[in-house]
């Protein structure tokens, strides 16, 4: 892995008695895009607020380029750009005035940088208009420009695709990818639009009820699932087959869909099951693997956690 930009260790946040983030750890390297996905109320925004110092950490630590966010806030946050929750601006000012204001907080205003970003995000036509006349998508784009104005090493985007049209989404995705590689920026994106995350991220972390359930490289994640792939076995007597499989293999979860029994097993197990079925005079017409999209994995995990009763 490349040099880590953001290191999150055992991050925990309590809101009063309730735990909003429970012992979350991950790290993001240079040029890496990390997707934090999870349902509403999972704790994505909370994690981002802790990372950016907006909310106080209950326990654990956040380090950005070696600087602790709590003890060395100014140095740590200097390398961060981001949108948290919604992109909010001073409505009575124009987009450009807003950008200039935020840029001025870093010292001399770099107009080249502003012009470059405005152009890349196709905001030239409206940049001189007041922000209150902007659509949500325009504000998102202005938010991204604003987040990148200080050439950050860590870009944090909380639901950046909200309000963008399909072309906008594609453009934004390309843009984020481009910036990440060109400027060697580590990107943290939170989202519940899973397909987007799938297409954009190098790594994803699935978060649910404040717990980071799975945190892996996307291909690893998919491969990991493949080790215990789901198989559909087309049989003559599916219900009977399901019954005896459950009896024989105590813990197997077997579904019956039409003439198919669907179950999760390793390749070795499938061979055993096939033999077992044949011995029991069940006709087998064929088997195939049932591949999963990330989305299905996501739901699987979330549901699994639900079933296991983890809050």
């Amino acid at each position: 892995m490349s040099k880590p930009v953001l290191v999150v260790k055992n991050l925990t946040k309590y809101y009063g008695e309730r735990i909003a983030l429970n012992n979350v750890s991950f790290s993001i390297g240079e040029g890496e895009i990390f997707g934090l996905i999870g349902p509403n109320g999972a704790g994505k925004t909370t994690a981002i607020k802790l990372i950016t110092g907006l909310a106080k950490i209950s326990s654990g630590s956040v380090t950005i380029l070696g600087n602790d966010i709590v003890s060395n806030f100014e140095k740590a946050i200097l390398n961060v750009g981001g949108i948290i929750e919604n992109p909010n601006f001073y409505n009575h000012l124009s987009g450009l005035q807003n950008l200039k204001y935020f840029a001025s907080l870093y010292g001399k205003i770099d107009m080249n940088r502003i012009n470059y970003l405005v152009k890349v995000l196709a905001m030239q036509n409206r940049i001189k208009n007041k922000v209150k006349t902007y659509s949500l998508g325009m504000k998102q784009r202005l938010g991204i420009i604003c987040a990148l104005i200080n050439k950050p090493k860590l870009l944090i985007l909380d639901e950046p695709l909200n309000g963008l049209d399909p072309t906008g989404i594609i453009e934004m995705r390309e843009f984020v990818k481009k910036v990440a590689t060109e400027e060697k920026i580590a990107v943290l994106i939170s989202s519940h639009i899973l397909s987007e995350v799938e297409a954009l991220c190098d790594t994803v972390g699935i978060i649910k009820n404040g717990v980071l359930i799975e945190h892996q490289n996307i291909t690893d994640l998919q491969r990991g699932i493949k080790d215990k792939e789901r198989f559909a076995i087309s049989v003559s007597h599916p219900n009977f087959a399901a019954k005896i499989i459950t009896k024989q293999y105590a813990n197997k979860n077997v579904e019956v869909v039409g003439k198919n029994v669907i179950l999760q097993a390793s390749s070795q197990e499938v061979q055993d099951i096939l033999k077992f079925l044949i011995t029991n005079n069940i006709g087998i017409f064929g088997t195939r693997t049932v591949t999963k999209s990330l989305e299905e994995i996501y739901f699987d995990m979330v549901d699994k956690e639900n079933k296991e009763g983890i809050l």
Binding site: N88, L93, Y101
Partner: protein, 579 residues
């Protein structure tokens, strides 16, 4: 350096707010408004009363001197004549404070004697001539004794007793009755039955006793008496010196000058003694009771017909009179060189107008500062931009500081701009006059300073007031995180403070309350605040009042503690809370 940068950005940001321009327009209107409503009424110069000596202006020096000698005892300025009894007391009698009669015990004894004589008299048979004559004589003696004590009591003790006008009238009435019905009867009519009836029915003596017992008797320390005697003698010396000068003068101008001094010395001296004595009498009383006494019209010492009296005010007058008297500054109106509301014996000038106008302008500007400060943090929360701002490389404390400093900077600039405009307007309309001002610091020390310096002091006290209210508004801004409640509560605080100041002015404990007691300018001379001749009640509402015999150090501590508490709360809250 970084703080400077963020403050700079913050200030520029505030300057882009549309509301700021609305405030600017209002300020401009207000500037014009104060220029229009300023309508100074020059008061008559009371030092000019000596001109009566040369009525018609054609008298010879001898005639003027003759005039002077005939009226010299009445030479107290018309305004000062309200000193009434005390002035007469001082001017007509040789006052020796060391023998002041202040004990009313003799009075009671005399009255008791009168009572028993009366009982003895009424008990005997009028036919028994020998006993009757003796009793009659006893009663007569007792009555004369009582009359003597009574007269002594009221003629020599008056300055050191307190008695309401009602009680005094009551006593006079009873004494009259005694005089007319009883004394006459004792002396002339041998039939004592009428006398007995009169006395029993009207309970005159018990009534008198009751009323007299209400009189409050105050002991004055010997040192104070000695000091007063010294001043008294010094005045007398000076007066006879001046009288000699007058009699030796050859030109009318010379006589006039000396006569004017004569009037001044007399007025100042009498006022000095009166005030010192009064302050001594009330030194252990709160301002509240001083005012109650004053409402009963029992303070014959202070000439200005003030509605409200304060010990501070009295000691300021003492300081001024002592200063003038000791420095042979006979123009006693010198201290009134200018004031916020009244112009004494002179034309209005730029500084008069500036003080007047700034009172209202400052009230408005501080109100705007409150709104700006209340919006500063709460506005960022309301618009959500706080999340954009807090992820910049500035600690929370720097963010708060920048808001505080930028609001303060803008307030300062607005005040400065207004002050300049107001002075220029004043110069254009009324001209400018740099005559020094006599002022009293902290109710004690007298200073003669340039009006420019005085105006700068005034400006600084306004600025301090602004800092207090900005701190309060900042605190509410962080506390509520929402613009509307932050502004409402801040403004409420801002408006309630002066209302409290004017409606509950006499409760001593208020001295120790912040918000109500934050005006420092009142310690630089009451004459700037004194509203005796105020011409515009509308402006008065916004005027700080010196209602407390406070002390600049108490007030300054309150101010510093208020600012510190508000800012600490603001910083801690903003630092500790999640955004």
């Amino acid at each position: 350096m970084k703080l400077f940068r963020i403050t700079n950005s913050e200030t520029k940001k505030i300057l882009t707010r549309p509301s700021l321009y609305i405030m600017g327009i209002f300020l401009a209107i207000l500037l014009v408004f104060t220029a229009v409503i300023y309508n100074p009424t020059p008061l008559e110069n009371s030092t000019k009363s000596y001109q009566a000596l040369t009525l018609n202006g054609v008298l010879s020096p001898d005639e003027v001197i003759r005039n002077f000698n005939t009226v010299k005892n009445s030479y107290t300025d018309a305004k000062v004549s309200d000193l009434g009894a005390v002035i007469n007391f001082y001017s007509n009698k040789t006052l020796d404070f060391s023998t002041v009669y202040s004990n009313k015990d003799e009075n009671s004894t005399a009255m008791a004697k009168l009572n028993s004589a009366f009982i003895a008299y009424s008990a005997i048979d009028s036919n028994d001539k020998s006993i009757y004559e003796g009793a009659k004589k006893n009663l007569e003696e007792a009555y004369t004794n009582f009359k003597n004590e009574y007269n002594k009591f009221f003629s020599t003790s008056y300055p050191i007793i307190r008695i309401t006008e009602n009680d005094k009238a009551e006593i006079e009435k009873i004494i009259n009755l005694l005089d007319n019905h009883i004394y006459q009867q004792i002396l002339t009519i041998p039939n004592h039955n009428t006398l007995i009836n009169t006395l029993t029915s009207s309970k005159l003596i018990t009534d008198l006793q009751k009323t007299l017992s209400k009189i409050e008797n105050i002991e004055i320390e010997n040192e104070v008496l000695a000091e007063l005697n010294n001043i008294n003698n010094s005045i007398k010396n000076k007066l006879s010196e001046l009288e000699l000068n007058i009699n030796n003068s050859e030109t009318v101008e010379e006589i006039q000058l000396n006569a004017a001094r004569y009037v001044s010395v007399k007025t100042m001296g009498e006022r000095l003694i009166g005030n010192k004595l009064y302050l001594e009498l009330v030194k252990n009383k709160s301002d509240y009771s001083v005012n109650k006494l004053n409402a009963l019209n029992t303070n014959p010492f202070v000439n200005d017909k003030q509605e409200v009296f304060f010990k501070n005010f009295i000691s300021e007058n003492i300081a001024i009179d002592s200063y003038l008297y000791e420095n042979n500054q006979y123009d006693f109106e010198y201290n009134r060189n200018f004031s916020k509301f009244s112009i004494m014996g002179k034309d209005a000038q730029a500084f008069d107008y500036a003080f007047y106008s700034m009172e209202l302008i400052a009230f408005f500007i501080i109100m705007c500062a409150c709104i700006t400060a209340a919006t500063s943090i709460a506005g960022e929360y309301t618009s959500g931009t706080i999340k954009m701002l807090a992820v910049r490389p500035y600690k929370r404390s720097k963010i708060i500081s920048s808001k505080f400093l930028s609001t303060l900077l803008l307030t300062f600039l607005l005040l400065l701009l207004s002050a300049i405009i107001v002075i220029i307007t004043g110069i254009i309309n009324y001209g400018i006059n740099f005559t020094s001002i006599l002022t009293v610091f902290n109710g004690g020390s007298v200073f003669v300073i340039s009006p420019i310096l005085m105006f700068i002091i005034y400006f600084l006290t306004i600025l301090i007031k602004a800092i207090v209210f900005i701190s309060i508004a900042m605190m509410f801004s962080v506390l509520f995180k929402s613009v509307t409640p932050a502004i409402i509560v801040s403004l409420l605080t801002y408006f309630v403070a002066p209302i409290f100041t004017s409606f509950v002015p006499l409760v001593p404990v208020l001295t120790f309350l912040p918000l109500i007691n934050i005006d420092l300018f009142k310690f630089f001379g009451n004459q700037f605040i004194a509203s005796s001749a105020s011409q515009n009640s509308f402006v008065q509402i916004f005027t700080s009042q010196n209602f407390l015999s406070s002390n600049i150090f108490i007030t300054l501590s309150l101010v510093i503690v208020s600012i510190a508490l508000c800012l600490i709360t603001t910083f801690v809250l903003f630092k500790k809370r999640d955004i």
